[in-house]
Symmetry: D2
Subunit: 346 residues, 4 copies
């Protein structure tokens, strides 16, 4: 039997999503990396920038024009926002499928997207076609998609955490609260002062409390599930660690329900969502390097508030790992192919 | 003019609250350290355990019996819970005043205290007399107190954060949410696995979601202010940093009000509470080593929820610094005496 | 063709070497975990202690007596020093092979061992038989060994770093200097104050400068290679990170030689030693989670001193990974079986 | 009695040396801050950039031209290299004294400076006049200096560590080794990728092994002390912490000598050098925030090698604190004025 081989191009391989895609794809039995582009680093061996890939990835970064992306089966965009929307039409025309790990295709309401991302959208029509790549919600649509909009890191942890409550219709969906904490790699591999070790280490702060781009993405996803408008307060925080998101979620219960059973049943068949036993507190390191969301659900003092703890590795289930999961679905592979790493602890 | 000198004893000087008291008192112009007790380390020079105190503190740890605490003006208990309640009656009888930095005198409801702290209280009558040492609320009572119950670290940051809202009666006090994050020094200088660097670093987790000892303390304090029962969800988290608490507080507004003005007015005369300009996000390092609570208040999307960000150094305004502030009040000194350090940043 | 299956027992599975062995063996195609012992945690599911192993390891910790270790093909000791030497004779008698990841069989000179480890050796005769498990030196002997003494973490990084120089006879072997820095997991998963995050984070210190147990182990290994007595200064330091050792090695050159060529040639056929290009500085994260030693060699200012930079993950190439590498050799498997993980970066 | 007031200007106040100078000077009884310049941030209140200075520093950053630096008694340069040398001549002409915390006046050999700093020197004649501001060596000259070249951070820790050995003439000064480890703040408050938390945290690496700018500075200082050419290997490393330098120094003894007595005697009258008892290992946190160098000296296995452990806070004794110490000397104040902070531990 011949093994299926997927020819893959990566646009924008110099960020953390890029190196994480490379780490996963280098070990994926069906993936054949054919090109990695970078305007700024063209000519540099990938393994010179990311020494963990020495002996694993022999490619050099190439100019986008030289990458012959049109000959790929699949192109990942691991770029800043605003790139994928420009390049995708030509790729689709060449028969190439696209997974955008940035935000260009996530928000269906173009005006809303343009407001939060502060640019004009280049291909609004394709936004309508794109499938939001949260497999636990949209698995079937992902399988046939030409364009998958890979979810943001916060939105993945928050949506998976709220999902059973919202689907079951047992909470006040106009007053959800998501208090989320992220490791610093979520800010990307960009030269900025506020994420220097000397600034961000031994420190903790909130940011974007008045508004964060992931808010409309989360609201859209939960609204689709609820069938009516969901409102939430979303408070992101910067935590002095490299990887990991911990979302602490609060929802007012409108019905009495066995929360533990609800969550266990909803995720019983999901390979990448792990509902912990009652009374648990997941730690982010328990998913470090793994494509996994671990969830615990509480009801403190038997009151009317559900408290959900949801953790992911922001670079894996929150970005590159979920992108590979989507690739597996799109190409008819078992969903766990190439994604069975044990988390690195300690 | 003769300068007032306070003869001070410290019971239990080997923990983080102890060393922080020593750091502050060693530089305090009116403090004369006369004894520091430790059963396990009696005979060891204090500066051998805490080398930052070399040339500042010449004392050795002594057995409690040898400490002649009865000759002090003031004794701080920087002990595990359950010690101060045993020793305090004799000290009071000797005319010594007491500041308990542990929890023995914090909860007025003895049955509730015994339930959360899992021991029998040794002197319930003195609990009634003790004054809860949050100067921004109880300054006058502290001045005349024989026993001050120094607040817990989380309770300080949470109460100062909610205080203006609860005093003003503008929020739903039955559904407050306090999502709090603490540095690891909050767990004390105890040999335990879960706070090892290899366990707690590059990691984030919640703990005590079903119930934490600081919950009844916070509820009691806010209830006293509100004049009726306050209920809150309190979710503590462990953050990979040494010092600092960041409390993110959520309250549903029941009246329209200028939040910024409310906070600025309430704390206008407080030396150790700093209300930041609108739109701010305080970081914990901005109070590292300083006796200060910095607060920012938000109302995201102009909705009906107030989001308050409150940061302290858990060892200073959350413990030793607040204890020295209480000492200053008790002994008629200017409240800022010995407490004017600039926070260490970066 | 039938795949070879190795029945494996682990004695002492609750430390960092234990969990790391479990992580690697859970993904090893030829390993069948049959028992993990722990006196203190008998009955607890392994995955309750190490949540990264949920769905990977279904075993519970068992009492050593109940472990039926005599039915295994191989037993790893991931115990404190002094355990393996007591249990090994009976296992050998039962035909079981042993890899001791602790120090019981590392030092051939029994008196020297007893002096540094401060206990009486239980089976001096077996020490003579045991093979020191540094595959890059002793591969052939390891293949046939009944007992493999897995090297210490520092000794692995230091010996692999000095090896080419000492073999080639081009340095003054009486004045070697090894300035080594380790992450805190090297101290083990033990409740101790000095490795608490609040003590060890944002801090750096040397320890054991007058003498450290790894000194005689390194000296013995290099002496065997040199054929005459090697003397070195060994200075270990504690670094605020979880995993990783960085050894900075200094040797006075006695002959002019092309250092880069020497190193590249020596390690050309080694799968787990990577000599970096001239001018490189390996970082410890480039081997995080991987069974790999990366080395760079310098000659500053073209002087008479060679400076070698050698990095490993102390829990992988410095402990569990090297143990699995030895297992592969002992059981005739390709040496890289189950050890082909890409290092986790960032 | 009138207290002496020093009118002070700071050029380049937006870096870590700048904020640290501000922290120290804000609490200094004789310092009057009159201007802080920044081209990029002119108009911004200093406390907006550095919130720890809220209520302490009311100044705004101003354009250099608007700073009226000519009216100051003293100007500190906390700038990148190459600025002070341009502005100093005019300031001297106006009767202003200068402390350059950058490197423009450190190296007496102009050609050597130009080679390492890769620029043309603007005022070679003033280099000859400038005094190297290591008070433990040059106290008398500093008192009368118009220009003080404040030492680099590594050079301070390394020179103070080697000083007694080199002065006493008891070591081989052609083969000194300085293996030094620095916190990340040493790289400055600059937007760069390699010092991001996600890059530098949980990681350790050497850098600049072929050559580092502090090498000629150290060699010059030790050569002056020895009276003949000193050669050393200098290996800097990046450590995942904010503040602190740990220098581990190796020197071959040429004479038998009581090392402990030598060090204690040499530094007996130095307020800012603390020689620890025999057998000690100083940790960097024991000087965090304090203007202090702590030193321990060892002779492992009673061999012929001295191992010296020297720690400083790179921003205090390694930069701003030493600059204030130099200011005190220059203006006839007690050397410890404004510099008596207890180190922050934990």
């Amino acid at each position: 039997m011949t093994q299926k081989i997927i020819k893959i191009g990566i646009v924008g391989g110099t960020g953390y999503t890029g190196v994480e895609l490379l780490r996963l794809l280098a070990q994926h039995p069906n993936a054949k990396l054919t090109a990695i582009t970078s305007r700024s680093e063209a000519g540099m061996p990938v393994a010179d920038m990311f020494p963990n890939l020495r002996s694993w990835v022999d490619l050099k970064f190439v100019e986008p024009a030289a990458a012959l992306l049109g000959q790929c089966d699949l192109v990942f965009f691991a770029t800043p926002n605003g790139i994928a929307m420009k390049d995708t039409p030509a790729l689709l025309a060449a028969g190439v499928r696209v997974i955008d790990v940035a935000a260009d295709f996530r928000i269906k309401d173009i005006a809303l997207w343009e407001q939060w991302y502060n640019m004009k959208h280049a291909c609004p029509d394709l936004v309508a076609e794109a499938v939001y790549g949260l497999p636990e919600v949209n698995r079937e649509k992902i399988a046939g998609a030409r364009i998958v909009a890979n979810p943001g890191c916060y939105p993945t942890s928050v949506q998976l955490g709220f999902l059973p409550l919202v689907e079951a219709g047992v909470v006040d969906i106009e007053h959800l609260i998501a208090d989320a904490k992220s490791g610093v790699s979520g800010a990307g591999r960009k030269a900025e002062v506020h994420t220097l070790l000397a600034e961000a280490s031994d420190n903790f702060k909130a940011y974007g409390v008045p508004g964060h781009r992931h808010l409309p993405e989360i609201a859209q996803g939960l609204t689709q599930i609820a069938g009516k408008a969901v409102k939430l307060i979303f408070t992101p925080h910067l935590t002095p660690m490299i990887r990991g998101i911990h979302a602490t979620l609060y929802a007012r219960l409108t019905k009495d329900i066995d929360l533990q059973a609800l969550y266990e049943k909803r995720y019983a068949n999901e390979a990448f969502v792990d509902v912990l036993p009652p009374g648990s507190h997941p730690d982010t390191r328990s998913v470090r390097g793994a494509n996994l969301c671990r969830i615990a659900v509480h009801r403190p003092q038997d009151g009317d508030t559900a408290v959900v703890l949801s953790v992911i590795d922001n670079l894996v289930k929150g970005a590159a790992g979920q992108a590979v999961q989507n690739m597996n679905i799109m190409f008819g592979l078992p969903e766990t192919t190439g994604l069975r790493q044990v988390a690195l602890l300690p």
